[in-house]
Amino acid sequence: MASEVAVDVSKIAVGAVGPGCKKVDPILIADGVKRQFGGLTAVDVEHLEIPRGLITALIGPNGAGKTTFFNLLTGFDKPNQGKWSFEGKDLAGVSSYKVARLGMIRTFQLTKALSLLTVIENMRLGAQKQPGENFFTSLIRPLWIKREREITETADSLLKRFKLDAKREDYAAGLSGGQRKLLEMARALMSSPKLVMLDEPMAGVNPALTQSLLDHIKELKDTGTTVLFVEHDMHMVRHISDWVIVMAEGKVVAEGPPALVMKDQAVIDAYLGAHHDTDLGSVGVSTDTTTLKLTAQETD
């Protein structure tokens, strides 16, 4: 087991594994990215590299700065200082829509399905290079209808893959929370991005849908797409990620393969909770020692 982990690590990271370690083939490199809200430092990342073609999880307690970091990387927020590059292109100060055009597409923690557009229109909106999105071209249908057909074809095949094809003509507002998450993810894939950044893809998704969402994320990796996602569900992180980055109080405090990071006692205690292995649902029937341990923890 230990040797297996070591082999994996050498394929991903260069040299010693630790916060900010170099990667064999990074797709995204961040340097000295700092964001302050008044006196509060929300994000302070010295150096971070995201490995290409893999699934990377970004974890950490609430308020660790994960979403803020996402916003900074995708141009939805401006840092006080720092620079970062995507596939070698400097992205500091680049507007969010240009970041998306470069092939770095994000989703949001609070799902942003376009409610009063149909599911298929939501999907079509995700496509790039539609000449009909230009004002003057839009008036002349023959100039964009061919591309529109291609886009619709891509959209339909994605909807099928995400099992939303039955909802094609429905308003997105009529979808359930989980279906909206699926739609948002499918829509993000319309432009065949190189890097997909998912902000809590599992939040609010019912367990029956979770498995299919997990499969979709794994499929992304198979098609060569790099995935970076924020998640609280440790089970999911352990299951699908190749690499885990732990943030706390704005800083990257640990990173490595999931098996290693999860074993790191400091990470476990501070960021996952000392009792992440205890089934709190059965506290009532747990042994006295567990209960005692929990009580002791609380009084600390």
Binding site: T74, F76, S95, S96, Y97, K98, A100, R101, I105, R106, T107, F108, K112, A113, L114, S115, L116, L117, E121, R124, L125, G126, Q128, Q130, G132, E133, N134, F135, T137, S138, L139, R141, W144, E148, Y171, A173, G174, E184, R187, A188, M190, S191
Partner: protein
């Protein structure tokens, strides 16, 4: 009370040049609010900019009519840029505040004595309609349209106005069924989502503001061409809120909504005025005088609009399916 006369007046009002103006302004506002979600409370100013642009083009620069119309449209587009560039990056409410303020500023600016040599000050401008009337191809005489008869010049204005509306509605239909219109609707729903999909939201909002503003400008031009003069006190906030009423009555995100909304709204105003005026005349409403009627019909219309927005927010022609998510 001559009920037939009241009805004829109301029917005439439904297709009058005033209705044409408000319909065109409401079509523009549907681009802003209905399709893009921009809260523009200064639509009167867009109409005024078009009207003044054209009038100044003819009087000061001696341009031929079509070039002067173009000048009005360019002025309208520039006005949209001036309004939009500082505000469209901010939240929607800021645009609302800025537009309402700017439209008042524009009106007072036009009244200012300092620029009266160009703008006519509080007297406004006239003497710019000669070429428009000279282009009337309809021979002199009276034309009977069944319920009412029109002079050739009246018929000419109606033909130009409704022709413009039909053309405008067709263009809008093309635009809103295109990917360009899809981006606008996306922005209305959630602009951050659209941004995250690689669309330049700011540019689209600016384009929408310009396109909608130009519709209003054409409406303003027809209004002043019909009267053969342009007055600064026409373009008050009242003008803007009438446009809003027309739009909400018909349905904000529809093509036919503003057209039907304008006809019904202005027809109703004329009808209530006629009926209530008649009742006062007959002494059935002893507590009212004729001048009160003009006020009270607006109160009634306001009340009915409130009820409409509460109970039928999608307007008369809006999509019922959309309502189930709004209400």
């Amino acid at each position: 009370m001559d009920f037939l006369n009241i009805l004829t007046l109301a029917l005439g009002e439904m297709i009058s040049p005033t209705t044409i103006t408000f319909v065109l302004c409401a079509i523009g506002l549907s681009v802003h609010f209905g399709f893009t979600g921009l809260l523009n409370f200064g639509q009167a100013a867009f109409a005024a900019v078009g009207a003044y642009g054209m009038a100044i083009g003819i009087i000061t620069f001696h341009l031929p009519l079509l070039l002067a119309v173009l000048m009005g449209l360019v002025a309208s587009a520039l006005f949209a840029l001036v309004l939009g560039i500082p505000t469209l990056r901010l939240r929607a409410d800021y645009l609302a505040i800025v537009t309402i303020a700017t439209s008042e500023v524009f009106r007072y600016f036009m009244t200012t004595i300092g620029f009266a040599s160009v703008t006519g000050g509080s007297n406004g401008l006239s003497q710019f309609g000669k070429e428009f009337w000279a282009m009337n191809p309809i021979p002199e005489g009276d034309y009977n349209l069944g319920f009412v008869s029109y002079r050739s010049d009246q018929l000419y204005v109606l033909a130009v106005g409704w022709g413009t509306i039909i053309l405008g509605a067709l263009v809008l239909r093309l635009l809103m069924r295109s990917p360009w219109g899809r981006v606008l609707k996306g922005i209305r729903e959630d602009e951050d989502a659209v941004r995250s999909l690689g669309k330049n939201v700011f540019a689209y909002k600016l384009q929408a503001l310009m396109v909608g503003g130009m519709f209003a400008s054409i409406g303003g031009m027809i209004f002043v061409l019909n009267l053969s003069n342009v007055q600064p006190q026409t373009w008050t906030t009242n003008f803007t809120f009438t446009i809003w009423s027309v739009l909400l009555l018909g349905g904000a995100a529809t093509i036919l909504g503003p057209i039907a909304g304008g006809m019904i709204f202005l027809g109703l105003i004329s009808l209530t005025q006629g009926i209530m005026g008649g009742l006062v005349e007959m002494g059935w409403l002893p507590f009212l005088t004729q001048p009160d009627v003009a006020q009270i019909r607006f109160i009634l219309i306001g009340l009915s609009l409130m009820l409409l927005v509460i109970f039928r927010p999608q307007g008369l022609f809006g999509n019922k399916k959309e309502l189930q998510f709004n209400g």
